[in-house]
Amino acid sequence: MAKNELTNGMERNVLIGLLVLGAVGGVAGLMSSDRFWFSFLQNSLFVLTIALGAVLFVAFKSVSNAGWATVFRRVPEAMMAYVPIGGLLLLLVFFGRNTLYPWTNPAMETHGADLQLGFKHLWLSTSFFFGRMVAFLAIWCGLIYGIRKASFQQDADGSVEHTRKRKIYSSIFIVVFGVTFSLASFDWIMSLEPMFYSTIFGFYLIAGTLTSSAAAITLLVIWLKQRGHLPAVGDKHMHYLGQLVMGFATFWAYMWISQYLLIYYANLPEETIYYYRRTGTTGWFTFFIVNLFLNWVIPFVMLLPRQVKMNAKWMVAACSIALVGHWLDFYTMIFPAFFGSPMISYVDIALLAGSIALFLLVFFRSLGAKGMVPRNDPYLEESVEHEHLEIVYSLKAGTMAD
């Protein structure tokens, strides 16, 4: 039984309906469409990276002793709860490996690419590939469990020890994630085109992950605040979140140009093929440019003024654009490898709706199960603005339910 009812019956029904729609569309796509596995990979990664970005958000905050986000920390903590479920879903890719990954085909040599594979041959073997996948997901889930548990235990006993523990887990997570996520992105996305490689690919994805999760946190915080669930969130928090979205979007653009520029400069066939496929046809080139605009140009320009960051409507618009951009980013990473022209079919829509619905259902369930505010966190007072201190005091005294 949930402690807080965050969604009313109708909203929950809509979410469940979307989830069913996703499942039905997915099954139909699996039967009849050659796009299913690509779309499945894209949408699973889209939602999973948002959840992983939320872990990074909390971990960065914890490691840097930043107090400002404490008051809404339960939001990213609830987003993390999706990682085990999203990870299990992603493992289903095992059944689509022959469609997705050309290196699973023993006859790949015959495609004129005798794969200067060598090392890649060993690296991209089915058992090692999925072994790594399970290991990465398991490590992430373990650390997420540690971070979340310490946070909830602090609610109960108020010991500062848990803050220290979270910091240790967070430090480990950041270091481990940097390496494992880089490798995971090489595996899951880059190996769709096994001849292509770019060493910055992982960091490019981490940049997108950070942007989209900051945007998703902002959207969820705004939604919860407007429902009255987070009364102590004020202008300061919206301002900082807006700065994060804008900063990470710029970081994404920096990574984007870093990857593009070096490949453009060096002009090596096995590298340029990646951009050739994405800019060679009018259809994909349009997506290529739109992707750049949605992920960086529009959010950056929109979020420049200070007032905009504190204006809920503008923030919702900017963050939604950044999220659409993140989805499109995966689209232009995955699909051009196999399809000559861009197209969006019912499979994509159904799977997108289903993944988002599943994510939100897990999110609301996890958020509702525990207190909305980490009431015993030593940084709680620091995180709220002066005028909201009363709320925090009454939370601590237990005179107000959260």
């Binding site: 140009i257 593009y260 520029l261 453009y264 400069y265 002009n267 420049l304 003024p305 603005e385 002066h386």
Partner: protein, 181 residues
């Protein structure tokens, strides 16, 4: 925080010293409510929400930073297109002379450089805290003191009322003076 208007040569003022930001923020808000005119506030570090408490209008510095950044961006484009495509075209690695992607790093750098340097320069000019300035402000405001400065615009300034207000918020020290900053 913003300094005084350059046109004002002498101003009679009362300054109250506090030892924390919360008192300063609260007294600034209350002083404004009670009709005092705030000359300025000083703190060792920027305090969030202080601009609202003092009633500052929005800073124009953002526009200057934006304009400076745009100037840097345009300069970078002009500089590179002119040098590498018109004035002295050089074939580098078989790329077209006018290779836009190659110009991006310099465009980025000049945008940041212009925007950063010009806004810092303008900031110092606007608040008259030029690096070579020998002006002394208050003892300890760069260390651990938080100072509220009330302007005594005319004879209507109620010294008693001000003293009561200072006492309420536990001022450590109160001083009066002329020719502020």
């Amino acid at each position: 925080m913003r300094a005084t208007e350059p046109s004002e040569k002498t101003v009679r003022y009362t300054a109250a010293f506090f030892d924390n930001e919360h008192d300063l923020m609260a007294i600034a808000a209350e002083a404004r409510l009670r009709g005092f005119e705030i000359q300025d506030v000083f703190s060792p570090y920027p305090i969030h929400g202080m601009d609202r408490a003092v009633g500052l209008e929005r800073s124009r510095l953002g526009w200057i930073a934006f304009a400076a950044g745009a100037l840097g961006l345009i300069s970078a484009i002009l500089l590179q297109v002119w040098t590498s495509a018109y004035d002295w075209p050089l074939n580098v690695g078989g790329k077209p002379f006018n290779s836009f992607p190659l110009f991006v790093p310099v465009m980025f750098e000049l945008t940041v450089l212009f925007s950063g340097l010009i806004s810092i320069g303008v900031l110092f000019m606007m608040n008259r805290l030029w690096i070579f300035s020998k002006k002394k402000i208050f003892e300890g405001v760069t260390d651990d003191q938080f100072v509220l400065v009330l302007k005594q615009a005319d004879a209507s300034f109620d010294t008693e009322k001000a003293a009561r207000l200072f006492k309420k918020y536990g001022a450590l020290k109160v001083m009066e003076g002329d020719k502020f900053v």
